[in-house]
């Protein structure tokens, strides 16, 4: 049988899915062991047991000065920035995308503007944001919005344009106003597309968040990683990296589930 027609069974599929993770873990353990064998105080690749005990300390022990558990404070600070930024960007994209996609009078002025604006490298304007908006929360959220909104807007307007013309004609013959078409024909059909686009832009959103936190913040996951970098605290950094990855994955997973539940008429997606 050809390879394109062979499929792993459910058990084998699970094993295959786990394989790359186990391989990475294995390689790390071997590397760590080799380095520690040469120099027991090596900080670069701490033993998995060290990382676990560091993680446990980070998650449970309160900070001596503030009495708070910094790990959770950082998590909450970062998640709040990320979620607010993504929420603002996606609301903006939904409204602008639908308007640009359906109304020639909105497309004419805004489509070229968004196309050019999306080419501005967000990190290059970060200093401007810090100068104009200060070093507080606003500039970090703004960076995320500026970073992902143009992509989301362009994707949304293209999705609207991609809808079959026949549906617009049909809606008109049923007497729908432009508003009724936007609300009842376009909006429900681009919502699952928006969720898909947001899932794709979560990666960049984290990137912009961590960049902003690394430069100016007093709490947050990105801030902590760049703070402890000075002490070469690889065990802390690795704990935070794994945690960020897990958070990002869970967000992605949650969005996919929401999309599946809320839009049963929509086809399968990855």
């Amino acid at each position: 049988m050809r390879w394109i027609n062979r499929r792993p069974g459910p058990v084998l599929a699970t094993v295959l899915a786990a394989l790359p993770f186990l391989a990475v873990l294995g390689i790390y353990m071997i590397g760590s062991e080799m380095r520690l064998a040469v120099n027991p105080s090596d900080k670069l690749l701490p033993a998995p047991t060290t990382i676990l005990s560091t993680a446990e300390r980070l998650l449970t022990e309160p900070d001596r000065r503030s009495g708070e558990i910094l790990f959770w404070l950082d998590t909450w600070a970062s998640l709040r920035r990320l979620l607010i930024g993504v929420l603002i960007a996606s609301s903006l994209a939904l409204v602008m995308g639908i308007l640009i996609g359906m109304l020639p009078y909105m497309r004419a002025p805004f489509a070229p503007f968004v196309a050019v604006f999306s080419m501005v490298p967000p990190l290059a304007v970060l200093p401007i944001l810090f100068i104009m908006l200060g070093l507080g929360e606003v500039s970090k959220v703004a960076l995320i919005v500026i970073g992902i909104a143009p992509f989301l807007i362009r994707d949304m307007s293209q999705r609207v344009i991609d809808l079959p013309r026949e549906q617009f004609i049909k809606a008109q013959t049923l007497g729908a106003s432009s508003m009724a078409i936007g609300l009842n024909v376009i909006l429900p059909q681009v919502l699952p597309r928006l969720i898909g686009a947001v899932r794709l832009s979560l990666g960049p959103a984290w990137l912009f968040l961590i960049a902003a936190e690394a430069i100016a913040a007093d709490q947050g996951l990105g801030y902590r990683i760049f703070l402890v970098r000075r002490y070469l605290a690889m065990d802390v950094i690795l704990t935070y990296v794994v945690w960020i990855t897990l958070l990002a994955y869970l967000l992605d997973f949650a969005l996919r589930q929401i999309s599946k539940r809320a839009f049963p008429w929509d086809g399968e997606s990855l």
Partner: protein, 256 residues
């Protein structure tokens, strides 16, 4: 007497004239079948009737009204594909025909929606779609989809029904069932219908008149050069060939 009046209509895209010199009048309740080679402008003519596009020359009047500038509730349309809304259940596709027109938002109040759903439910039962009322279009067969599309188009009580190759993608058996379905609906509503088809038998079976779109003059060098028009207007009431009589003058006779 004449319900749909088409006077001196021509349509050009840029320099290229697709159809020209179209003069026809159609009585209320007539079923017009439109046949012709691919690309000769049948769908273009339908888009003009639908007011999706405006003619370059000439005028189209329905029921004596001023010429429509955009599609509206006077027009019912069924395309070969994409005619129903994929994100709405079968029953909500029917309710949309009422909801879209009620107000600016195209939304019914909760009470009104329940009421309209009850009505739609009856329609669905009558046209044999009652058992799939809660399903989405993606779960329906081609025949069921077109049945729904036709019912949806008629639910807004249009003045003319336009069908662009509605059964073109269906298997022969389903086609025959759909013919019966369409004929029944037509007997009930007395609807004026324009249907494009590639199936001559279907054209003569369903139509009262069959219009053939063609180019009166073909250019050997450039087949895209000349515009098409209605070259024949057959009377198809007695099952057509071989019983049909030429109904009106033909444009071929006056070709340059």
């Amino acid at each position: 007497m004449s319900y749909v009046e088409v006077k001196g209509v021509a349509k050009a895209y840029g320099k290229r004239t697709i159809i020209e010199n179209i003069n026809v009048s159609v009585a209320k309740g007539q079923f017009i079948s439109i046949v012709g080679a691919s690309g000769c402008g049948k769908s273009t003519f339908l888009r003009l009737l639908l007011a999706q596009e405006l003619p370059t020359h000439g005028e189209i009047h329905i029921d004596g009204a001023p010429m429509a500038q955009e599609p509206g509730r006077d027009h019912g349309i069924v395309f070969q594909r994409y005619s129903v809304f994929p994100h709405m259940t079968v029953i909500d596709n029917l309710v949309a025909a009422i909801a879209f027109d009620t107000n600016f938002w195209g939304r019914l109040s909760r009470a009104r929606r329940t009421e309209e759903r009850t009505k739609a439910r009856k329609t669905l039962d009558r046209i044999g779609l009652g058992h799939v009322a809660g399903q989405y279009p993606a779960d329906l067969s081609g025949g069921m989809l077109q049945r729904l599309a036709i019912a949806q188009a008629l639910a807004s009580d249009p003045k003319i029904l336009l069908l662009d190759e509605p059964f073109g993608a269906l298997d022969p058996g389903t086609k025959i069932v759909m013919h019966d379905f369409l004929q029944e609906l037509r007997d009930e509503t007395g609807m004026t219908v324009f249907m494009i088809t590639h199936d001559l038998e279907e054209a003569f079976k369903l139509g009262d008149r069959v219009w053939a779109f063609d180019k009166p003059v073909w250019d050997e060098e450039d087949p895209e050069k000349n515009a098409a028009t209605i070259t024949y207007d057959f009377d198809a009431r007695d099952d057509g060939i071989p019983f049909q009589t030429l109904r009106e003058r033909t444009n071929v006779l006056q070709a340059r």
